[in-house]
């Protein structure tokens, strides 16, 4: 095989791309993320088009709280860093560190999602139901879609961690952890635009 790798000396420097399957997973992930970019663009466009249509329901400035959004943003940004540190541990063949940073990522993701659920319940109690206005439904759909992605990522990393809890770093699971980390950065990236376009522009724009 042309792309075979010498594994006698130890873990290759880029274990996630050492095999053909790993390379394919890596490339496939980016194809998927490019598609996700366009999908999120449609949701962002819809929200921006409809955000002034509040139909005498609550407006964004009445609902959004800067401190809560700030805490959520910090949590998600930090989880992006911890998943980067996990991939560096993977390259250095430090399995314990990889697991530790991935668990930290998982816990940060859980706390983010809990805050988001709390936020939605709070808004609902302030009279913003899903069908209250065009603003309400486009807001819940955009932010909820991001939340669903976070939930999916949490399930993904939980399964990976449980299935590979004693496996060590192999050429089979390294691409999987790496693909998750790419996905997680993308989630973080979408959140950057959500907190800017939805929350900050909702309060100050």
């Amino acid at each position: 095989m042309a792309d075979s790798v010498d594994v006698n000396k130890g873990l290759p420097a880029n274990p996630e791309k050492a095999t053909l399957e790993g390379k394919n997973k890596f490339l496939g992930m980016f194809v998927f993320l490019a598609g996700e970019t366009t999908m999120f663009a449609t949701f962002f466009g819809t929200y921006l088009g409809l955000r002034s249509g509040t139909a005498s329901g609550p407006e964004s400035a009445d609902l959004f709280q800067l401190p809560l959004v700030f805490i959520m943003t910090m949590i998600l940004l930090t989880s992006s860093l911890t998943s980067v540190l996990a991939t560096f541990a993977m390259k250095k063949n430090q399995f314990g560190k990889l697991k530790l940073w991935m668990w930290v990522t998982f816990l940060l993701g859980v706390s983010f999602l809990s805050l988001e659920i709390y936020e939605f319940v709070e808004y609902y109690e302030h009279g913003l139901g899903y069908t209250t206005s065009a603003f309400a439904s486009s807001f819940y759909t955009l932010v909820g879609l991001h939340g669903a992605h976070v939930l999916f990522g949490l399930g993904w990393i939980l399964l990976l961690l449980l299935r590979n809890r004693n496996a060590g770093i192999t050429l089979t699971n390294a691409p999987k952890f790496y693909a998750f980390s790419l996905y997680w950065h993308f989630i973080d990236l979408v959140w950057v635009f959500i907190f800017t376009v939805v929350y900050l522009m909702g309060i100050g724009g």
Binding site: F26, L66, V84, F88, L200
Partner: protein, 114 residues
């Protein structure tokens, strides 16, 4: 090699040169992260502070988001690395498609009122 794909490794095959490079890269990432935290705080301050006109705030925070986009894509997602030609072309075509979609939807939904 197919039979030992599920074998963990006792050690890393990296030589000291590669190890130094990866440690340097890790430091770069932590600095990029600190930078991202900084511009996030800046964006929140621009909105939270009194007396800054919206005409300034909105383009300013959008610009900061763009900087974050570049930092995330090129540092955390490694698009700046070598052998990332295809990922780069996929992500760029995704963004090139996304921009007119957002503009078209804002115009469609915002101008033709519901």
């Amino acid at each position: 090699m197919a039979e030992n794909l599920d074998q963990p490794f006792k050690e890393s095959a990296m030589n000291s040169e590669e190890r130094r490079k990866i440690n340097r890269e890790q430091r770069t990432q932590v600095i990029a992260f600190a930078f991202m935290i900084g511009i996030t705080i800046l964006a929140f301050l621009a909105v939270g502070a009194e007396g800054i006109p919206n005409a300034f705030t909105v383009p300013f925070i959008l610009l900061l988001a763009l900087v974050q986009l570049i930092l995330q894509l090129y540092y955390f997602m490694h698009l700046k690395d070598k052998d990332h030609g295809w990922p780069n072309s996929f992500m760029i075509s995704g963004l090139v498609l996304a921009a007119p979609m957002i503009a078209a939807l804002i115009l469609l939904l915002g101008v033709v009122k519901y």
